[in-house]
Amino acid sequence: MLRCVVVDDEAGAVEVLRGYIARTPGLAAAASFRSAVDAQAWLSTHEADLAFLDIDMPDLGGLELAGLVDRRRTAVVFCTAYAQYAAESYERDAVDYLLKPVAFERFLRAVAKVLARRDGFAPSPPERGGPAPRELFVKSGAKIHRLDPR
């Protein structure tokens, strides 16, 4: 059973994700928060396997909160209305990046990714993480640049 935490300042978003978690076998909602500060306090004393984090929140944002979470224990999936944070979220070693509103099928794919990562290998630091990427895409403004690492 994966213990899940949902953090989003909008009630509707929390409601949707809690509903999805309840519908998915193998997932259990441990807690949900409307503020990243509350979530951080809870996470420092409790254990969770999976955290769904909004990015744009007052006081403490999802990207910052992800930096404070113990990543060896807790996998992070971002769930946001912003399309432009995808690159940064992968830098934070997030498992997936969901764009609101999220269809249930898309949610299930994210969960499958989390499970695959738990079964396969522990979230590893980038320097020893799998084979080197063949190419890298960087978005700057309206342009997407392709970098070839070789």
């Binding site: 909008e10 009630a11 509707g12 978003a13 409601e15 949707v16 509903g19 744009d56 209305a81 912003y82 399309a83 432009q84 764009l99 609101k100 509103p101 999220v102 269809a103 309206a142 342009k143 997407i144």
Partner: protein
């Protein structure tokens, strides 16, 4: 239109140069020479003007664009030289014909009555090959400079277009973050009430709008994404109709769709147009969209019935297609072919697009 004017002006210039024949007076008519007494020299000049213009025009207006644009230098050289050779042969044949027709000397030992009758006449002799070679050289020069100017102008227009698009994008920014969060909150209501149908529609609409706002702004996007967006768009459009309406819209894809890239929002306007005209308010009519990729060539076809066409809508939508045509000219110069078939019962758009850079 502009191209036809350019061709006509060039043709007139060539004819003028060759008809202003420079005479070498006070020489007898020798073999292979034409003269201005019987008028044979004018026909010879016309033949040279025509041949030179054919070579010049083919090289500068056709070959430079078709071959040098995508760096096929060997093909360019072969086509140019073959054309020059053909023109030389034609002029040579015309010369022989004229000599016989005007009864002029054709060989060194031949004595024609013209030589006897008018021993000192204004004559002109011009071998065909140098004329054709000069035309070839001028054609290459003119073609290259013309291409350079056109590329320069294209690039400037593309930059202008981008500025305009950016401005439109800024105007359209009604804070997308607010918009998508609100949609998500409405999505939450549909989930609360167990309305999966409404939920699906909201997800598709938000994906469609997100594509237009964020991804519509990049230079190239995966072709699969553009087609996925077309499918989303079709699904969102279906919402207009009653459940019992049997709306006939089909999207098919074949070949290597994955791995190809395209300028975003290039195909969607055709589908938008087809849905507007092809299906009436009661859901009657049909639309077929098909995309097929073969060796880097996209064949995109949209057919629709004409039952939904109302006069007002028809007048309106010309602007949309004009816009797409302009974008195609700017983004895929000489790499696309668009044909529109406007029949009584149906309307068809066929687009062939060379996707390889």
């Amino acid at each position: 239109m502009r191209r036809h004017i350019e061709t006509a002006v060039l043709a007139a210039a060539f004819a003028g140069v060759f008809l202003a024949v420079v005479y070498r007076p006070d020489r007898p008519v020798f073999m292979g020479e034409f003269n201005n007494i019987d008028g044979s020299v004018y026909w010879a000049a016309i033949a040279r003007a025509a041949a030179a213009f054919a070579v010049f025009g083919a090289v500068s207006l056709v070959y430079v664009g078709r071959f040098l644009g995508n760096k096929r230098i060997a093909a360019f050289a072969a086509a140019s030289l073959l054309t020059a050779l053909a023109a030389t042969v034609v002029v040579f044949a015309v010369d022989r014909g004229l000599l016989h027709l005007y009864n002029l000397p054709t060989g060194p030992n031949e004595i024609s009555d013209k030589m006897m009758a008018y021993p000192m006449r204004e004559t002109r002799s011009a071998a065909a090959a140098p004329v054709v070679l000069i035309a070839l050289g001028l054609g290459i020069l003119y073609g290259l400079s013309r291409d350079w100017v056109l590329t320069f102008r294209n690039r400037r227009e593309l930059a202008l277009e981008k500025v305009r698009a950016d401005a439109a994008f800024l105007r359209s920014q009604i804070n997308p973050h607010f918009f998508f969060n609100s949609l998500n909150n409405i999505f939450a209501i549909t989930q609360r009430n167990g309305d999966g149908e409404a939920g699906d529609a909201i997800v598709k609409l938000s994906e469609l709008v997100r594509y237009m706002i964020y991804e519509g702004n990049v230079d190239r996007i995966a072709l699969a994404r553009e087609i996925e967006t077309i499918e989303n768009f079709v699904d969102v459009c279906r919402l207009r109709f009653a459940r019992e309406d049997d709306v006939d819209i089909a999207v098919t894809k074949e070949g290597r769709i994955n791995g190809s890239e395209i300028a975003p929002l290039l195909l969607l306007p055709f589908v938008e147009n087809a849905l507007k005209h092809g299906i009436d308010s009661k859901g009657r009519g049909w639309v077929r969209v098909s995309a097929r990729v073969d060796e880097g060539l996209l064949r995109f076809r949209v057919d629709n019935s004409k039952c939904g066409a109302r006069e007002t809508v028809r007048r309106h939508s010309g602007v949309g297609l004009e816009n797409v045509k302009r974008r195609l000219e700017l983004l895929y110069p000489r790499r696309h072919e668009l044909s529109v078939t406007d029949a009584d019962e149906e309307y068809r758009v066929d687009l062939a697009l060379d996707l390889e850079e």
